[in-house]
């Protein structure tokens, strides 16, 4: 009888593989820093100091992390259904339009307590709507979701240019922005909320969206692992053919999953537009949607992993800004390099790390386990 192949224990699979691949990505990034003629360790120190060394730095780090949690969860949910939603960037961009329209129309008439939830819901709905057409095309017409969502990213970008240099631009303004919203359309800041209960923290863009992001991470966990729909999503991702025989509608799962994914990506705009910028401007998504891909791969599509990976990317964004300030040779594009390396090592080359780790930690399942798994 053939022995079953050696398997990597679960703890190593969820912890060691990502850590090894991310570590490799950082070593490679260190080599790039070295090639520029800077000291990677000194840079790392500046980066960590800038991101975590002060209350303000931590606030900024978590504010960036908020965006990544939303876009990362968006990619992760779709991954569970075996769908690659590469359109988070476009979905978040159009979602900003939803949030902005609510704010522009109602900021002088509705009180904040109604206006803000409405704005947040609008951002999720617009994000979901921008995912709906690719979702429908994938489910009904068998068009490849990756290509359609890429096209929809470009369509979103051209649509927003049209709106922001035309209809949405206030009269007499040159900048491609909407007017600033009234104060009633601004999400409460963390500083304000904690100040109300007597806790003083330094000013930063961190706002209530961060809590919303954590709630969403918890809801995604409940959805994927504790709900019937989540079970169907995972089953579909694992084997679409088999789910068809089990009576699960592929059309329904594809569309529902991508709507959830688009909605989550859209919530990013609540943080940016309603929480921080208080107006809609050209290109405000600036790559956060794509970082979601790295975050989901790094977090292995698990909400806890996504939150941790988001905080790491938050550190990179905030620390990277400080680093660019201290070391003019290293621009913030260094973050994009690290992002690319993470996607490469944690995503495309993941097997690379699995084989040696299996050789070290792997064990063969016992006969009882094999029987239990196959029965």
């Amino acid at each position: 009888m053939n022995l079953p192949p050696r398997e990597l224990p679960h703890w190593a699979d969820v912890a060691l593989v990502p850590v090894a691949s991310v570590a490799t990505a950082f070593i490679a990034a260190g080599l790039v820093v070295l090639a520029i003629g800077e000291n990677p360790f000194e840079c790392l120190k500046i980066l960590l100091q800038g991101a975590l060394g002060s209350g303000e730095g931590i606030g900024f780090t978590l504010y960036y992390a908020t965006n990544f949690i939303f876009t990362g969860l968006a990619v992760a949910v779709a991954f569970h259904a075996g769908l690659f939603n590469i359109g988070g960037e476009g979905q978040a961009y159009v979602a900003g339009l939803g949030a902005a329209l609510v704010a522009l129309w109602f900021d002088s008439t509705l009180p904040a307590i109604i206006l803000l939830p409405l704005g947040v819901i609008a951002s999720a709905l617009f994000g979901a709507a921008w995912a709906l057409i690719p979702a429908w095309l994938q489910a009904k017409r068998d068009s490849h979701i990756v290509i359609t969502t890429i096209m929809f990213n470009f369509l979103a970008a051209t649509l927003m240019v049209y709106l922001l240099v035309g209809p949405l631009k206030p009269m007499g303004s040159m900048a491609p922005d909407t007017r600033s919203f009234a104060a009633s359309a601004a999400l409460p800041t963390m500083q304000g909320m904690l100040g109300a209960i007597g806790l003083k923290i330094p000013a930063s863009p961190l706002n209530i969206s961060f809590l919303l992001a954590l709630v969403m991470a918890a809801l995604v966990w409940l959805l994927i692992w504790r709900s019937r729909l989540g079970y169907e999503i995972r089953a579909f991702g694992f084997n679409p053919e088999a789910t068809r025989y089990a009576g699960i509608s592929a059309t329904r799962i594809t569309i529902v999953t991508l709507l959830i994914s688009g909605g989550l990506a859209g919530l990013m705009s609540a943080n940016e537009i309603l929480g921080v910028q208080h107006r809609l401007s050209l290109g405000f998504v600036s790559g956060y949607g794509f970082v979601g891909i790295a975050v989901a791969l790094m977090g292995r599509s698990h909400p806890v992993g996504v939150v941790l990976a988001s905080i790491l990317f938050g550190v990179l964004y905030q620390g990277g800004a400080e680093l660019a300030f201290d070391k003019p040779a290293i621009t913030r594009d260094m973050i994009v390099v690290i992002q690319g390396l993470v996607i490469l090592f944690a995503g495309a080359l993941e097997r690379q790390f699995r084989a040696p780790l299996t050789a070290i930690f792997g064990r063969r399942p016992t006969r009882a386990e094999t029987q239990a798994a196959t029965s």
């Binding site: 520029i36 290509i147 890429i150 240019v161 035309g166 794509f290 594009d333 973050i335």
Partner: protein
């Protein structure tokens, strides 16, 4: 509008569609061999940067071209290693290459030249020059032939002619040679090729080398011929438009030429229409024309104007059956 105007618009369309056509054919080699490739954008960008930097440092356009080709192939080999040897997700690998190229070119460009990622402008003698076809000047005033030959066909960079020649060449290679037959076969039915004793992995690696060379040409054209320096993210989505064109072309070389010329023409119109007033529509938003290639691709993918059927084995790593 005179024939000369038409010829000039077409000539501008030809110039604009050249990087698309090269990238589209690059994608064709890769995808016909069964490897999805959304990393075309990154391969072009990396090549454009390498070509501009090398041309600046060595003051030689030829060495710039060489560097562009090398970097194009190297990035294609990264994609090959990830998706063939490591059997990784081809989409993820493509995204990684795009992201890496955007980041690395910006970081290195800024570190080396300190001009926000831009490379120094290349002097005319280091830049590729346009080529006047024989008798172009003397034929210019001849009616009909003059505009078509002298204004439309003559006076382009060598890359334009190479791209045009690459179409029949690719069609020949793909349809008439053993290499082409095997290449198409590994994209449709790799197991059959494997059974015939041909290495699927080797064929796919070769296909990606072809892909890298063509992306290298496209990138070099952009930074050392079309413009005289590298600018960050100068590919501006051309890699993705090339993918869209590939779908339009139904993964065929002549179709690629048609689709790329169409997209190039749209681009040329968008540039000319900026601010112009049209009969019936009034002032058309330029964005509407810019959005057309993306929109058309979505409509095509939805199967509303003919069906685009990709190579069957595309995106699936080939696993040799255990013996």
């Amino acid at each position: 509008m005179t024939l000369t105007d038409v010829a000039l618009i077409l000539a501008s369309a030809l110039r604009l569609s050249t990087p698309l056509l090269l990238a589209c054919l690059a994608g064709l080699y890769s995808e016909r061999a069964g490897i999805f490739n959304i990393g075309l954008e990154g391969m072009m960008l990396g090549a454009a940067f390498a070509a501009a930097v090398t041309a600046t440092q060595t003051q030689s356009a030829g060495l710039g071209l060489l560097a562009g080709l090398i970097v194009g192939v190297l990035l294609a080999l990264v994609h090959a290693f990830a998706s063939i040897t490591q059997r990784g997700n081809q989409i993820v690998s493509g995204v990684a290459i795009n992201t890496l190229a955007i980041g690395l070119t910006a970081v290195l460009g800024n570190a080396w030249y300190k001009e926000g990622g831009r490379t120094p402008p290349l002097p005319a003698n280091v830049r590729f020059q346009t080529i006047e076809l024989p008798y172009a000047a003397s034929l210019r005033d001849t009616p009909v032939v003059g505009p078509l030959y002298s204004d439309l066909l003559s006076g382009h960079y060598i890359f334009v002619y190479v791209a045009l020649l690459a179409v029949p060449f690719t069609a020949f290679v793909l349809n008439e040679t053993r290499f082409g037959l095997r290449l198409r076969a590994v994209g449709e039915n790799p197991a059959a090729v494997d059974t015939a004793g041909v290495s699927v992995e080797r064929m796919r690696y070769l296909a990606l080398v072809c892909c890298g060379l063509l992306c290298g040409l496209a990138g070099t054209y952009m930074s050392t011929a079309q413009s005289a320096s590298f600018v960050t993210e100068m590919t501006a989505g051309k890699g993705f438009i090339a993918l869209a064109a590939l779908i339009f072309a139904k993964w065929r070389p002549w179709g690629a030429l048609g689709a790329c010329l169409l997209f190039g023409l749209l681009d040329a119109f968008a540039i000319r229409l900026e601010g112009a007033t049209l009969p019936l529509i009034g002032q058309a938003p330029v964005q509407a024309i810019q959005a057309l290639p993306y929109l058309l691709t979505v409509v095509l993918l939805a199967g509303f104007i003919g069906r685009a059927i990709p190579p069957k084995a595309g995106g699936v790593p080939y696993v040799k059956e255990r013996r």
